[in-house]
Symmetry: C2
Subunit: 293 residues, 2 copies
């Protein structure tokens, strides 16, 4: 079995069309013949196929909310149990953790305006921007992934090529850059100033040559499908380490502001009213349900 | 004086042309009549004008290496002293720290293929991706800034608008996303695995629901103009906090691996040969020279 390739497959540009899952697999675009997610828990996921299997998938073209696998009745296709963060689901989460690009293939059975009328089409590289748990339409916990298209103008030019960069199958003299999005609005500035750039979890204040540095973390994420607001009741001032841990669900916050998953209590000043609904949303979607791993 | 606007100025799309610095100022695109950098040390910089003033400027269109101000002889325009990280220079560094978009205006006197033949042209929003110190052509320390164009397809759509987002002068239902670039190549994966995701400075290992998280930090940065290599001798495995502090020059590493700026010694295992030349490059460009602030 050749090494798993993360990135484009040489010879198959974006838009390449395939008659069947077998021809997709033969080209190396998506190796498994049935599974929607290609990859392993240790390496991460290299490709997914959107083929209408899950009622909870959402597809806006450059932005996809993809549903993990498992928990479905084999005969009816209905969700009859919770999904677990293992196998392909964990592989796709790992791709976020490792910042790996994921090939996206759309099949004709996929319900989206832009699906091919027959067969399968390679639609380019996406990054896994986020993953979380939620109750699907059938009432069971499902794993969901937000994938965002990587545009070619987000590819930087290099003056030096290493073999390893080339082995990622990105055109020569280029390297994929994986983008971590840090939003900075007036509200983000305001929350940092309220706490004087000190982390609300560990009280650390990072000092650079141009001044202090902190990050504004949204409790209920912005954007589709969470639609959290960019307001002070949905923001925390965190150091980068606690921002990562919060976004990855390593800890959450109870309504009484005690921390869940780690020791301690969130530091909150009087001027900062945190929405209890937003805290609930974070716990429900990002903090792993007991026994669901 | 109206509030400083970070972002587009309504009524003046990218490509708008102005006859003079006075008309640029009247439109609010770039308020100072002489200075190349508009902004304050506390708020950050909202715009710059490229007008051929500095021999060390470099312009590749979507990517600019801009030189700070100060240290020039008023009569000859030659660099006769070191530049300091204050006034406009600190404002521009602050824009990186705060993730603020900077309006870029090119003037006819600016030496680049794409400069307007007369007057000034608004060329859109850029982010300050990096700043550092180096010896300019005249032998004095100058401050340099790498600015990268923000493309409109890096703008996310929102379902909820707050007044504050609107006051950033981004079209309705949209918000600028400031992108922190985290590169992830095979070498980046390798350095993290070598250290089992433990920070080489503080030994922290962040644990998320899908596994451990660490960042690969390039000692000598990739890309123009540093051209560091994506190889193991140019990488460190750091937690996000120490990655930020390293990139912002809050600490550096001596050739004997002792830390500069903070207490301690870098943890380095036998299989990891760090290039002394790359450590020297980081100290020289990112670690503030004594007495130069």
């Amino acid at each position: 079995m050749p090494e798993r390739v993360f990135g484009h497959i040489p010879g198959y540009p974006v838009g390449s069309w395939f008659e069947s899952r077998a021809s997709l697999a033969a080209a190396g675009l998506h190796r498994p013949l049935v599974a929607g997610i290609s990859g392993t828990e240790a390496e991460g996921a290299d490709s997914i196929v959107l083929s209408g299997g899950y009622e909870d998938d959402e597809d806006c073209g450059d932005e996809i909310v993809y549903t993990g696998h498992g928990g479905r009745d084999q005969d009816t296709g209905k969700q009859v149990a919770h999904q677990k963060l293992n196998h392909g689901n964990l592989a796709l989460a790992k791709s976020k953790l490792k910042g790996l690009p994921v090939r996206v293939i759309r099949g004709s059975a996929h319900k989206a305006d832009d699906s091919p009328s027959t067969g399968y089409r390679y639609d380019g590289l996406y990054q896994v921007e986020d993953y979380w748990q939620e109750r699907g339409r059938a009432g069971y916990y499902i794993w969901r992934y937000r994938l965002v298209k990587i545009f070619e103008n987000e590819v930087f030019t290099f003056s030096k090529v290493t073999e390893d960069v080339a082995s990622y199958s990105i055109p020569c003299r280029k390297e994929t850059t994986i983008l971590r999005i840090v939003r900075d609005t007036k509200q983000a500035q305001r929350i940092k100033e309220l706490y004087d750039y000190c982390c609300q979890v560990c009280c650390v204040r990072l000092e650079g040559t141009a001044g202090p540095y902190a990050e504004a973390a949204h409790i209920r994420p912005l954007g589709i499908p969470h639609n959290g607001s960019d307001s002070i009741d949905n923001l925390l001032c965190l150091c980068p380490n606690h921002h990562v841990l919060f976004d990855y669900g390593a800890f959450s916050v109870a309504n009484d502001l005690s921390l869940l998953g780690i020791e301690g209590v969130l530091t909150v000043i009087a001027q900062h009213q945190i929405s209890v609904g937003n805290l609930h949303y974070h716990r429900e979607h990002y903090f792993l349900k007991q026994g669901e791993l």
